[in-house]
Symmetry: D2
Subunit: 346 residues, 4 copies
Amino acid sequence: MTIQAGIIGDGYTSAELNRLLARHPYVQVAGVTSIENIGRKLQEVYPHLSGYSRIFCEELVKPDFFDRCDVVIFALPHGVAAPLAREALLRNTKVVDLGADFRFRQRERYEQWYQHTHPAPELLTEAVYGLPELYAERIVESRLIANPGCYPTSAILALAPALQHELIDPATIIVDSKSGASGAGRTPSFTNIFCEVNENVRAYGIASHRHTPEIEQVLSWIAGKELVVSFTPHLIPMSRGILSTTYGQLRRKVSGQEVWEIYTDFYKGKYFVTVLELGQLPQTKAVYSSNHCHIGVVVDERTGRLVAVAAIDNLVKGASGQAIQNLNLMFGLPEESGLDFPGVMP
Amino acid sequence: MTIQAGIIGDGYTSAELNRLLARHPYVQVAGVTSIENIGRKLQEVYPHLSGYSRIFCEELVKPDFFDRCDVVIFALPHGVAAPLAREALLRNTKVVDLGADFRFRQRERYEQWYQHTHPAPELLTEAVYGLPELYAERIVESRLIANPGCYPTSAILALAPALQHELIDPATIIVDSKSGASGAGRTPSFTNIFCEVNENVRAYGIASHRHTPEIEQVLSWIAGKELVVSFTPHLIPMSRGILSTTYGQLRRKVSGQEVWEIYTDFYKGKYFVTVLELGQLPQTKAVYSSNHCHIGVVVDERTGRLVAVAAIDNLVKGASGQAIQNLNLMFGLPEESGLDFPGVMP
Amino acid sequence: MTIQAGIIGDGYTSAELNRLLARHPYVQVAGVTSIENIGRKLQEVYPHLSGYSRIFCEELVKPDFFDRCDVVIFALPHGVAAPLAREALLRNTKVVDLGADFRFRQRERYEQWYQHTHPAPELLTEAVYGLPELYAERIVESRLIANPGCYPTSAILALAPALQHELIDPATIIVDSKSGASGAGRTPSFTNIFCEVNENVRAYGIASHRHTPEIEQVLSWIAGKELVVSFTPHLIPMSRGILSTTYGQLRRKVSGQEVWEIYTDFYKGKYFVTVLELGQLPQTKAVYSSNHCHIGVVVDERTGRLVAVAAIDNLVKGASGQAIQNLNLMFGLPEESGLDFPGVMP
Amino acid sequence: MTIQAGIIGDGYTSAELNRLLARHPYVQVAGVTSIENIGRKLQEVYPHLSGYSRIFCEELVKPDFFDRCDVVIFALPHGVAAPLAREALLRNTKVVDLGADFRFRQRERYEQWYQHTHPAPELLTEAVYGLPELYAERIVESRLIANPGCYPTSAILALAPALQHELIDPATIIVDSKSGASGAGRTPSFTNIFCEVNENVRAYGIASHRHTPEIEQVLSWIAGKELVVSFTPHLIPMSRGILSTTYGQLRRKVSGQEVWEIYTDFYKGKYFVTVLELGQLPQTKAVYSSNHCHIGVVVDERTGRLVAVAAIDNLVKGASGQAIQNLNLMFGLPEESGLDFPGVMP
């Protein structure tokens, strides 16, 4: 069986999908659409794909493109994917959307944070939030996956066991994240040119970043009650990787060992999540270019807080790798197909 | 008037002292002591000093060395400076210690966190914590300055106005710091070689870093009551710079504008602290190689938290520049002598 | 005496001029012109200038702007400066041009390599190539300075003594240069965003880079005969710095010591050029943010070649610092005014 | 069939062997020896291997270790491997040596450049230089492979077609290489700590680097006559990657297109070498973490020189990947087994 996957868009997450699918045993890239590079060989745009892609970037011609695909993966800015996804679904083509269009169950939340009228609100109840470690059962049965944001993936994986087990007070959650620059995509701007990022660190979007409501929505589902979080993203001088350091006030006295056991148990059988030995802390380079997530936990007895730290590669577990993990589940493939390799270190 | 300053040690903070003092209008480097580089020209060890230093590294010969100096600056690991400082003081040579030996008023706190019997506890009451923005009056009259740690400098400057004005609940403080690698000094180790730091980010020393009690001590002084903080340092792939993102639960409803005015007012007349316009956030590159500290404040109305972010260069405001600022005050010089230049950007 | 200097343009070289002139004892920035940032505070665009600049970016209004200035420094792309420079000169305002418009004595060479009709060819004979280590006497008397390109500055300083003393065969010169990304300016593009530069190295413009004829012109002047060179620039993952490794076949058997003496003698009294001790090689970080140039020489006895390596900061000695050095000479100031400080290391 | 491969050493090239072999379809890691980490889990030393290695580092116990292995790969400093390799061969275990011990056919050349008496000179005639693109036929039949150095791999691949086809004068070859820091290994030193490498570039070992005679030996074989080259390595601020820019005087007038055809023809059927389209130049990130080599060629008509540029990942094609490529050939496996994936970009 070979699944035909179409990719809409030719930015970094598209390049990453092509890199990963080039070695996927069961999935083939049926086509890649572009606006600026129509007619160009993809391996000319992305020379690392030389020898691994015969694709020429094409214009999106509907519905032909959808008909050629068993699944289309949208690697587009928010607001653009939703109407196209509707068409794809009508033609029985499954959808994985890397953008934000289908991440919120409530249309209002989307419209408030993204300042944009939702283009296909009728699909929101159907869409499944594609975090396989939490929602694999629903993903398996879905035809429309909202692939999580990169920051939310790391924050939710860091906090889910603690919230589920009521270890921490949901009113006290702080997520302090550090991201490499590829999260901002490939569009040149004053803030992502080399000289502005190199040898520099900055916080941005404090109390206003669009991943905030996404983190809150999922953590609220887990906690069984509405909660809000303080989320601060930082841009640090590296290309790939997110480290999210999360804090929560402990509701009871608990040892590091006990927390570690809860986390280890929670992620038992989850191939891509590794809870590090007590005393070890994650680093992003250990998961570089891979779909793995490393988590470390520390109980701060003096302050009564839990500190849980998660490391992922924002382009893989935080985007394209997770999309493939979802695709695997949707088509009944082994979850780790095409994703089963370690990070690149050093 | 030319003040003769001796420097004990030849690591990065010593190099930075030499770089800065090379252009100081009133201070001359009287000598630099070393263990490994005795007899070598300093500009051979640090080629950026070529043409700006005639110093040959020398062995520390007591008391001769102290007698040649009006002030000695200790750029040594903790535990080593204290007995030497005692001797220097006995010979009427003033002391600025870049290490931790004199930072704690209570000997026990030092001995507990540094696992080391204090070598000169009788000096602890006399030593002044050398953060000029808070303690200039006492520094002016002191002969023994404990230069603050790099993380504490950034954390305290970020939080001092909020605590002083009782804006935040002292029980809720979290300090999440990101530091360049020069903070770890020049001694090679498995954790500071290029390939382990580059394209990587990690947290370390969670709930156990030695700068924690130092932050707590000073914030407790400001708050007028004992407090503890959660402090998480991170190593990020850059050479210089610390960004500290600090969080505290607001005690009352307050606008960003009001907070900004409190901060601006608090730092009025403090030459090296700039409170950025509301809506702007600091970045470390803007203070690169300079003694300046940039602070940005955000009120997160949804969570009721204050987020205050401070950026410094860890080797300058976080170490050698602040030492010179203290020295200036101790000798009645204008505070900004030798330090009055902008950061290097890009 | 305070000289009023106007700056045309607000890119990185303009920012660097403002950084350096902020501490210049005899020069004041009279104004900075902009297209995109008219009306904005310069320190808002460049936060490292906070507290060091009261300038608001202004539109260039001719001839008013020129009349306010003793000298204008053009920090503009080629082709734009020349007609404006003509106007400035007519109003008795001196000119330093950071671009290429006045670098070539022969209009044809400019027009061939820059594919652009020269806008003011009548000024080419008057313009002086502003490399003070070679042409200080002419600079002193000039009112129109063509500030050298960054690569040519490093290549020429590396090779001038060897050519002057006929050590190497002029037909065998190869210049292999490595540059940080700030040389490409501040305009965002696909090639200068962080993720394309970081953890990457590439050659570009082989046999076609526009700095080639500039290097050739000046080396030909020195050699007293026309020569061509192979010049290969490389983009490496850092913000500042150029290292040029140059090769030439030796015309006679010569020792490293002899070459070193020739170089040392050649640069005697040149404040900003340091010939390193034999056995030492330059590194760009040692001149970071400074106007210094470090040179190292090696005689390869096995191949009969001279290898001379020069390190500069492309934004300082390769652009804005050298412009100020030229300005100092044009106005009879000490050559090192405002530029006399060491590099920032580490 | 599963081949048992033992790895001697636990530095970066060993880590890379483990990373690659973890996904090799026909090879299993039989054991990893260590000096400092005996008894530790390898995935504790290298957390990116978490879940991909069950190895505990062990002491090298001869001859037991060799008996367990079909092949041993030596990832050791020069001088140490040779006597151990002799023992392994005696026990019918094949050998791939990542170090320099078996790279030279003439013992004198080794002893002169490495300042070390050769420990097993009788094996030098038997050893095969393991550059599969040139010597696959001999590798297939060998039991002792000298894996090429990282710089030589890139330099030889860049120059081989031009020398073979007598395009360039063998007396005029210059190799200017730029390497990431992982080439220096994992042992901490003053030159490889982060702050010395970051935001810096330097040349080192000019006219004296030990890879010089290795490049010369192989290029001499190709040229059919003894030649010497100028080789200059540079350390640039990245972890992985080597870009070698090579220069040679053309012996006749030739077009870029003709050169490109010669190169393309030369590497026809060589899976891991890609000659880029004329006009494209290689970049190291495109081969990051992969065994591929990208080559670009330019004819500089003005100077009559050929410029050929090659990019590899020094830890893969320049070390561990090439070792596996050799191993594949030695055991009759498809050459690309375990190595058939694209680079990681961005």
